[in-house]
């Protein structure tokens, strides 16, 4: 195994190697750069070409600056909606094209402090609106396991980069499944921590009561390491929880014997039988590990999507009101306005009497893609006078019931197990013209965000067509330690996480 490529190894293996021989970090970067040159044209996991010179310099600096860093010399890619100082952060949207963040997100500060090397930005659905990464304004990402299929979304670039060994780990964001579903489609581990576990400072807001940053990695140990770096209270995020962070890594080996696994009855509509079979096998594996299974009731789970698309769009329409072409990002050319010395509308057909309003309209209409427009409109509608009670208020009440379902379930069991997605990766173009069908593919992931509970997706099978299948584990708030322990025990008992796409 002496010749095993560095790029194909896990974060924890590489961390140990670099600790023994720091030059391994330089070799690792070169391997990744070669792979990116060879594969990114096909996959489009990264939005930008790597700047080789600056990356080499980053490796040297980080090796020197962080001799005991948990991520010393480890190349990590970050979803394009997390701010990195001096780097373009566009949310894969034209409306933020050219925006260079003047500050680092808290998670970026934490990655840097532990010696990580920041790779180019990972592609995503525009503003994290989507489940396939086809909504990126800069072109879709493709699934490394089958390039005619989507990598999932919205953190599809992060997932594809890790699965294709173009990065050693990644950060994504998860508002309704945007870390877990792409992890499932790409055969890797992806975790959404408890709401409040990881600081959102510097994460471009989509739905502020649901968004959470989390790791995408090659195995569970790597997820534990990355989470231990990014988790913890941050005074700059007032929704960040002042809850102590346990040592996730050292607890991984603790036995799972006696853990109670809850199996909910799920809406079966659209559930692929291969996914169902893989999940049944995975449950048996947990039983062999000494876990007990019990049935639990999540009564309102079939209402989760409807609830989510009210709450998430309401929050999104409010959060996206800030993109008006005034303070940062894009301003429509020809709507007057960026032109030196001119305050008059230059548009051939000014459609309003008000140049400022005209600039807002032209900038937002040409800056946002179709999905942001749909969600802004939906959110504006459900919040508007006369509809608020019927939609937004109703949604918040059903959210309470969904949260209560989980509170009750976790009195009866330690973990809930269910599929991450109803099917393996679908084809590019398959759902893009049917927004409701696309929304329905989030059915199993959305409730964790509404309830705020942590959840992880881990590989648990391959379909006959050779596509990865993911299993989702959920647990009570702030018990990521339990989630990771159970995922680790399952991983050690199986070898799904060692399967590689045949690129």
């Amino acid at each position: 195994m002496a010749s095993r490529a560095l790029a194909c190894q896990t974060l924890h293996e590489l961390r140990d190697l670099i600790q023994q021989d720091p030059t391994a970090a330089e070799h690792l970067l070169e391997e990744l750069l070669d792979r990116i040159a060879q594969l990114n044209g096909r996959l489009h996991a990264y939005l930008a070409e790597p700047d080789r010179k600056r990356l080499r310099q980053q490796v040297r600096e980080q090796l020197k600056a962080c001799p005991n860093g948990k991520l010393r010399g480890i190349p990590i890619t970050v979803k394009d909606n997390i701010c990195i100082q001096g780097e373009e952060t566009t949310c894969a949207s034209r409306i933020l094209q050219g925006f260079r963040s003047p500050y680092d997100a808290t998670v970026i500060e934490r990655l840097r402090r532990e010696g990580a090397v920041l790779m180019p930005r990972a592609n995503m659905d525009e503003f994290a609106f989507g489940s396939s990464t086809e909504n990126s304004a800069f072109g879709p990402t493709r699934n490394p396991w089958a390039t005619d299929r989507v990598p999932g979304g919205s953190s599809g670039g992060s997932a594809a980069a890790v699965a294709a060994d173009l990065a050693i780990g990644a950060l994504g964001s998860d508002t309704g499944g945007s870390i877990r579903q792409p992890a499932s489609f790409c055969g890797i581990v992806g975790m959404k921590p408890t709401y409040g576990r990881v600081s959102r400072y510097g994460l471009v807001a989509f739905a502020s009561s649901l968004d959470q940053i989390g790791p995408l990695t090659k195995d569970v140990t790597d997820a534990a390491i990355l989470l231990s770096v990014i988790a913890g209270h941050d005074a700059r995020d007032s929704t960040s929880a002042p809850v102590e962070v346990p040592d996730y890594v050292s607890q991984l080996n603790t036995s799972v014997k006696g853990l109670r696994i809850g199996l909910p009855k799920l809406p079966e509509e659209g559930l692929d039988h291969e996914v169902n079979d893989s999940l049944a096998e995975a449950v048996k594996a947990f039983e062999r590990l000494g876990c007990q299974t019990t049935s639990v009731e999540l009564r309102q789970i079939d209402k989760a999507i409807a609830t989510y698309y009210i709450i998430a769009t309401a929050e999104a329409s409010s959060n996206l009101a800030r993109y008006d072409g005034v303070q940062y990002g894009y301003r429509a050319v020809g709507s007057g306005l960026g032109v030196e010395g001119s305050g008059q509308a230059q548009s051939p057909e000014p459609r309003t009497q008000n140049a400022l309003l005209d600039m807002y309209l032209t900038t937002r209409t040409s800056g946002f893609g179709d999905e942001p427009k749909r969600r802004i409109l939906l959110g504006t509608y459900v919040l508007s006078h006369g509809y608020y009670d019927a939609y937004y208020l109703k949604g918040m009440k059903v959210r309470t019931l969904i949260k209560q379902d989980f509170d009750e379930a976790f009195k009866r069991c330690d973990l809930v197990v269910m599929p991450t997605a109803p099917s393996p990766a679908f084809r590019l173009g398959e759902k893009i013209d049917d927004p409701l069908q696309m929304y329905l593919s989030d059915i199993y992931t959305i409730s964790a965000n509404l309830a705020g509970v942590p959840a992880v997706s881990i590989p648990c099978g391959l379909s006959k067509a050779g596509l990865p299948i993911g299993m989702q584990l959920l647990t009570a708030p702030f018990r990521e330690d339990l989630l990771l322990r159970a995922a680790y025990a399952y991983e050690q008992a199986t070898d799904w996480h060692r399967r590689q796409p045949g690129l």
């Binding site: 925006f99 929704t239 301003r331």
Partner: protein, 97 residues
């Protein structure tokens, strides 16, 4: 029966500062209508004695110490604007004289 008509969508679009017309408007209106029809299923849930949840954590009135900390410089902020004449951000004329 349609929940939203293209006319209502156009009105909402103006509130959201989006310009919609023609085929884009009718297509979006139809998609929004389908989504809103789907969302109607929530009306069947009994929520009479249920309090709304806007936020899952039991955090209220989070305060920080009343101490000044450094913030971004004016130069750095103005430099982000698509049109500026430092130290000002430029916008189209808003006052008729």
């Amino acid at each position: 029966m349609a929940v939203v008509t293209p006319e209502v969508v156009k009105q909402v679009a103006m509130l959201a500062r989006l310009r919609l017309e023609g085929k884009a408007l009718t297509q979006l209106a139809a998609q929004l209508d389908e989504i809103l029809q789907y969302v109607q299923q929530l009306q069947a849930v009994d929520t009479q004695r249920v309090e709304p949840t806007s936020h899952v954590l039991p955090l209220t009135n989070v305060l920080r110490k009343d101490e000044p900390t450094p913030s971004l410089s004016q130069d750095a902020v103005v430099a982000l604007a698509p049109a500026a004449q430092p130290p000002f951000v430029k916008v189209p004329k808003v006052i008729e004289v």
